[in-house]
């Protein structure tokens, strides 16, 4: 284990957050707390990095630290100039109605302490490599190492017919993060790569905490909910050996999408959803439909709220995800990377095998009984405040089952068992948050289409 490499991995995420923070004028809602801003900025930084690497690949420029530093400086500079001009005019941020909870402190307390403990425990196990997910070895980490060595997404390598087992068609944001971490660390150091999962876990917990806060949960529920998400995720992450898995990315997507989906739709929410959706689309193949669902639901909310269809919100929400998806589609199609496993006829006859697998997966010991929480969106759909989140979650669940019924795998019972517990992990933390928001918020604080008791976490002045 190299301390230099671990430091480089940690510094990498700080730099990504700083890069993303250059877009604060557009990204941060007055309702957003400091921790959630860190989450949004880091996700934004990652999406920018992914797009920069994609452009470099299209241009045939090999990745290097100086090239990436120049690109980051240029982007930060442009964002600074545009942001300064924008601040000179009217405020980009909408006014926020304060609610009775506005006086509540969201300072650290016992639940946060438990959450920090959970993140540290997970991080310690992760950097030892003992809880490294097999898929890190089989493809995520392997591709990351390969891209680090070749200083590009090595499409000629991915296009080798024998590489079907490493999912050459998957979006490459996850291995790109490993590759750039290795560039900064001057070597592919496994503990440094594993630290990424711990960072994503910390961001996930921060996003869940914010979801509870913006949802109007009182202090006890905020603390209990934060602790519950952190402790249960850490237990599953260790028990199911999840370090290095890309499922952390999608769990973060669902959790980070909760605050803007709980708030009434607005310009800032459009961009927040757009950035989060772009992150989803770049991370995993099931992140592509998830991105489409997030964008579609946000646009429908906008249309519903304004009673008219306008192009601007659709562009604000959909531009970044579209850029990520179209670039990915172009490369995958050009190099003929789609696999036969991706397509097949819908076979209802598999139902018994699939649902037997689901039933068994729901009892997975690493979940300690919590996995059925992933189906809570079916109930949350009946609550107006959580309907948007529930719609996204349910449709993503439908997509998972569609894949089970159409992928020509063979042994569907094993297929479901091998991935359902971790697909559920993508949903469980955000489902816990939204369920607590609905079932624990005082009835007087549940008006539809309001901030639901959320205090403004910052003023326009603070953001300027």
């Amino acid at each position: 284990m190299s301390l230099w490499a671990l430091g480089a991995a940690a510094a990498f995420f700080v730099l990504l957050g700083l890069l993303g923070s250059r877009f604060a004028a557009w990204l941060a809602s007055p309702a957003d707390g400091a921790l959630y801003r860190c989450v949004l900025y880091t996700i934004t930084g990652i999406v920018i990095l992914h797009l920069v690497l994609t452009v470099l690949d299209f241009a045939g420029v090999r990745w290097s630290v100086p090239v990436l530093a120049v690109a980051a400086a240029v982007i930060a500079g442009i964002a600074g100039i545009i942001g300064a001009n924008r601040q000179g005019g009217s405020s980009p941020l909408p006014a926020v109605q304060t609610r009775p909870y506005a006086k509540q402190s969201s300072g650290p307390a016992w639940g946060d302490a438990l959450a920090i403990f959970a993140v540290i425990v997970f991080a310690v196990f992760a950097v030892t490599g003992w809880i490294t997910m097999p898929d890190f070895v089989y493809h995520w980490g392997f591709k990351g190492h390969r891209f680090y060595l070749t200083r590009e997404v090595d499409y000629s390598f991915l296009g080798n017919r024998w590489n079907w087992a490493i999912h050459p068609e998957y979006p490459n944001l996850v291995p790109e993060l490993f590759a750039v971490t290795a560039l900064l660390a001057r070597g592919f150091d496994m503990p440094a790569m594993m630290l990424e999962a711990a960072v994503l876990f910390a961001l996930l917990v921060a996003a869940c905490r914010e979801g509870l806060r913006q949802g109007g949960a009182d202090r006890f529920i905020q603390q209990a909910g934060t602790a519950l998400v952190a402790l249960s995720s850490a237990a599953f992450g260790i028990g199911y050996i999840m370090a290095g898995a890309a499922d952390w990315h999608l769990a973060l997507v669902f959790a980070a999408a909760v605050p803007p989906l709980l708030r009434p739709p607005d310009r800032t929410g459009d961009l927040q959803i757009g950035v989060i959706a772009a992150f989803a689309a770049g991370s995993k193949i099931e992140g592509v439909p998830l991105a489409a669902l997030l964008v579609a639901v946000q646009i429908v909310r906008r249309v519903w709220a304004e009673r008219r269809l306008t192009l601007k919100p659709a562009v604000t929400t959909g531009l970044l995800p579209a850029a990520v998806v179209l670039a990915w589609l172009a490369r995958v199609t050009h190099h003929h990377l789609f696999q036969t496993l991706e397509s097949g006829a819908f076979e209802l006859a598999r139902a018994r095998e699939i649902f037997a697998g689901v039933g068994e997966a729901l009892q997975n010991p690493a979940w300690h009984g919590l996995l059925p929480v992933m189906f809570l969106p079916l109930l949350l759909l009946f609550q107006r405040r959580t309907r948007a989140f529930a719609a996204v979650a349910i449709l993503e669940l439908v997509f998972y089952f569609y894949v089970y019924f159409t992928s020509p795998v063979g042994d569907y019972h094993y297929f479901v068992l091998s991935n359902f517990p971790r697909l559920g992990f993508q949903l469980v933390p955000a489902c816990i948050v939204t369920a607590l928001v609905v079932w624990f918020a005082p009835k007087s604080e549940r008006p539809a289409g309001t901030l639901g008791g959320c205090p403004p976490a910052a003023t326009d002045h603070e953001l300027a």
């Binding site: 392997f142 060595l149 237990a235």
Partner: protein, 153 residues
């Protein structure tokens, strides 16, 4: 809020508190299990689908590949064979070999899509024999494996 409502709210909070306790206990149980298995890793000898970083089977494979790497030019097409192992076991071993040698193009020796592509063949633990060894020339014996070069016409 009436009396019944207050009791209901308190009960819900109590249940949430219990859930937090349950999750804390779950984390401690998983951590304990992980520490126990970590302490016993020297005796870890699972089938290849259950290999983990830092376990003896992976260390053995790493030793083999470190030895082979000295004899292989970078970017070479290398087939990995595991005579006597099941196809499923071999599939996982190939993935581990590819992970440990990312600078090479590693694939399974029986991979139909790579027929005739291999410049070198690594045979894990046992030497190749019979038709599989035809058109191959032994070039080295790294720890725990055998290295062959394909004879090109």
């Amino acid at each position: 809020m009436n009396q019944q409502g207050k009791i209901g709210a308190m009960l819900k909070r109590f249940l949430l508190g219990l859930l937090v306790l349950w999750s804390g206990a779950s984390l401690l149980a998983e951590a304990r299990r992980a520490v126990t298995s970590w302490d016993a890793r020297a005796g870890w000898d699972a089938w290849p689908g259950g290999w983990r970083l830092g376990t003896p089977p992976v260390a053995r494979l790493e030793a083999c590949l470190t030895g082979a790497r000295r004899l292989l030019p970078a970017g070479t097409a290398v087939a990995f064979a595991a005579p006597g192992e099941s196809a499923e076991s071999t599939l996982f071993q190939v993935r581990w070999a590819a992970y440990l040698m990312p600078e090479q193009n590693v694939f399974g020796h029986s991979e139909s899509t790579a027929a005739g592509m291999a410049r070198y063949v690594i045979s894990w633990r046992k030497p190749l024999a019979g038709p599989a060894a035809a058109k191959l020339r032994p070039v080295g014996q790294p720890p725990g494996c055998f290295l062959y070069q394909a004879i090109r016409p």
